[in-house]
Symmetry: C2
Subunit: 202 residues, 2 copies
Amino acid sequence: MRLAELSSRSGLPTATIKYYLRSGLVPPGETEGSTWARYDDTHLRRLRLVRALTEVAGLSLDEVRVVVAALDAAGSEHDARGAAQWPLSAPGPDEPTPEALDQVHALIARHGWNIEPDSPHRRVLAAALDTVGELGMPATDEILDAYAEAVDIVAAVDVPSVMAETDPIVAAEKLVVGTLLYEPVLTTLRRMAHEAVSAEPS
Amino acid sequence: MRLAELSSRSGLPTATIKYYLRSGLVPPGETEGSTWARYDDTHLRRLRLVRALTEVAGLSLDEVRVVVAALDAAGSEHDARGAAQWPLSAPGPDEPTPEALDQVHALIARHGWNIEPDSPHRRVLAAALDTVGELGMPATDEILDAYAEAVDIVAAVDVPSVMAETDPIVAAEKLVVGTLLYEPVLTTLRRMAHEAVSAEPS
């Protein structure tokens, strides 16, 4: 398809698409003659992904660039999972306390989770625990164990749909969509469950 | 305490605190003489909350204003829960499809959740379902049922700690902290569980 059709099918203005092409967020089309290029479903899918990452997941274009670079690398290396997932969890500027890190390591050990020692998730989680602690709502082991039990149920339905995908590029895209764009589904359902539990007679 | 101590204990510059005071995000101190005011732990707690909402939860100051107004209203009306929680889930600009709304209503009915007919969570969730569907990863009822089971476990540990709080202002603050600032705990744990499940021999 030509640029105009790519624009109408992705819902993005041609100027925006040209900007994404220039900045490498979307791979170039196949040149046809000197003035136009041909695009296919790969380009359309990538544009929809970039749009969802910025508009729904609220990522900056710099963050999208990291995710997209990981996707492209995963596609060639046939190793979609770790490569595409870790960049989504960049640790914040604050160094977590050793106490919070110890609590995270103990949680992982208690649940027998196979998590790389240098996985960024350890530090991101520890920093989140420091924050809730500073605000007077410390995460007890009881709370963390309940959360861990809950995410085991979630991961059991999340992961197979990605693992079943044989095309590594599509698999990596599904991983990003599944990770980032199912987060609002999970957090909104949690708020619903709060409303439901609060309404129960005590 | 005076402004300088409020600044050192909250980690916020005095200029920022003055701005928050002017814009009503933080209640005024008790005037002592003509040139200074006295602040107490209420002010310190509110500043820590505003800081966490902007820096950790990523809310804009306008969004913080909505949350804080709901907190203040809840404190006087002794009805912390709904008032403080609903403003956290403002529906986005996109109208969800009737199909997605039907799927949400059916999920709520299936799980016997007591959710108000005009709760914003219904529309927010339906819009999230539309997004993942458009990106080729539709939420099946099987996925939603697993997510619902998971958030029931989470809500069972979240809600009692808030319900046990008798001071309505503190209860409303805890609800906001618990809702917004435990979200990164939950989403990071989900990513960890993905890493753990992906590493299991299939």
